[in-house]
């Protein structure tokens, strides 16, 4: 646990060193939140109460999608790809910590800092200027936090899998945009799944991506409540277990390959 925290601290120092970039990142996020806010506001003025949610719920959904974007994306895949390319990965493998856990520790540090430095201030702006609402009750708030943690872990493992894949098979630089956009699309970051046309919804409903944005935010705005919310959390948990198992297997293969090649 102590080692885990020391890596988290490392991530913190990195972020402090780049504080100007973080400030700009914050400005960008505010612009994005503002943009999506107006899109939903106009659409819901045209068609009030469409699809069982009201204007404030929908703008909250959109703004939360942009706010979460700032911190739930961990980037172990970039780190892995660049370490492999430079050969520095062997020093990581020598560290007295399982590599998978090491990546998780780094990502958790980045996420916590991102949430504190970017996410919360941006949400504060959104509460004040964009009329974003709080969860309907305390229970929904707690379930949201739980679901958010699961969402973070899901996304981390998807990225970790991609990173392992980068070692085994391919150069991931050139599919990154495609990957990001597919995750955001199927994750419901901008448009929630209940608006998808049926043939896309069927796919998005079963894949793990909806556990990243759609489930946490839907719980937050009260669209998923009670048994539905618990089911959704179960869905996230099941996929998480599957992805952890898959990550261990794929990383095992990648690791063997690195060792065979002489590190």
């Amino acid at each position: 646990m102590k080692i885990f925290w020391s890596f988290t601290r490392q991530a913190f120092q990195f972020i402090v060193a780049y504080r100007f970039d973080f400030f700009m990142e914050f400005v960008l996020a505010v612009v994005r939140m503002y943009g999506i806010y107006w899109v939903w506001r106009i659409l819901y003025t045209q068609k009030p109460g469409a699809f069982g949610v009201d204007l404030v719920q929908m703008t909250t959904y959109g703004v939360m999608g942009m706010a979460l974007e700032m911190f739930i994306w961990s980037r172990p895949q970039w780190y892995m790809a660049s370490q492999v390319k430079s050969g520095a990965i062997d020093t990581d493998l020598m560290k007295p910590l399982d590599f998978h856990l090491y990546m998780l520790a780094r990502s958790t540090g980045e996420m916590l800092i991102g949430a504190g430095v970017l996410g919360l201030p941006a949400l504060l702006v959104a509460y004040i200027f964009l009329g974003v609402q709080f969860p309907p009750d305390v229970l929904a708030g707690l379930l949201f936090v739980l679901s958010l943690v699961l969402g973070f872990l899901l996304l981390f493992h998807l990225n970790f899998l991609l990173g392992s894949l980068a070692i085994v098979a391919l150069d991931i630089r050139h599919i990154s945009w495609a990957y990001f956009s597919v995750v955001r699309f199927l994750g419901g970051q901008i448009v929630p799944l209940w608006l998808f046309p049926p043939f896309v919804a069927i796919i998005a409903e079963v894949l793990p991506f909806k556990g990243t944005y759609y489930i946490p935010i839907s719980i937050y705005i009260g669209r998923l409540a009670g048994a539905d919310a618990l089911n959704a959390l179960g869905f996230q948990a099941i996929w998480l277990v599957a992805l952890v198992a898959l990550s261990r297997v794929l990383w095992g293969m990648a690791h063997r390959r690195l060792v065979v090649q002489g590190g």
Partner: protein, 267 residues
Amino acid sequence: MMEALRLYVRLVRLSMQARLQYRADFIMGMFNVIALNAVNLGLIGIIVYRFVDLNGWIIWELFFLYCLWLLGHSLYSLFFWHFWDMEDYIVQGTFDQFLLRPASPFIQYLGREVQYIGFADMSVAIAGLILAYTNLHLQWSAAQWLFFPVVILSGTIIETALTLMTACIAFWTGRSSMATNLVMEFNVLVQHYPIDIFGLWFRVIVTGIIPVAFMNYYPALMLLGKLDPRAPSAWLGYMSPIVALILSLIASGVWRLAIRRYSSAGG
């Protein structure tokens, strides 16, 4: 001038040859860009599928707006994308090489690279524009047909001038990518949505300060016949080339200042 052009073409040919060595990269890169655009258009499509229109813009009009921006952008990304990397040259001091050789540093820098990704953007944009034109049953007059390429080139110049200016910030601060990102953020919103849905201050920014709305929104009003000739702002529909001209003049001034600043710093 001719001399500079000849030099540029030669440099570009060299960098093309270097690029074509990596064919798999090329294919993956194209795939990447097409997937990105497909997802973006898909999202716009879903929104309009559910809500019929967005503030009076129907689906093909929104696609037209998106692709009009993208076509201008594709030329920018083909030839000028590497302005993003300029800060690295400045921070590492490798920018010196362009000042030592007896040719314009600007041409030398431009000739370093051609981004094939622009071709993917261009194919998506052209396909989208053709589909939009047919589905909207547009019948452009000769004047509109003449205006169309002017709009595209103006769009390219507007984006290029803005990116060049933000990239030049690095000559003073050493960092610039975040400023370029900020411009890009406004670009993305303007590309995806008609700016009439946004609040007043946003419209003021993208019209007067970071005038990216002239890449697609204002000319699209004219080309889609959405322009109300009696509206007091109707003239904005024709202003893209003027905006492009003004911006390129400012950008070339900034560039000159930046080069002078770099030399005087002894870097």
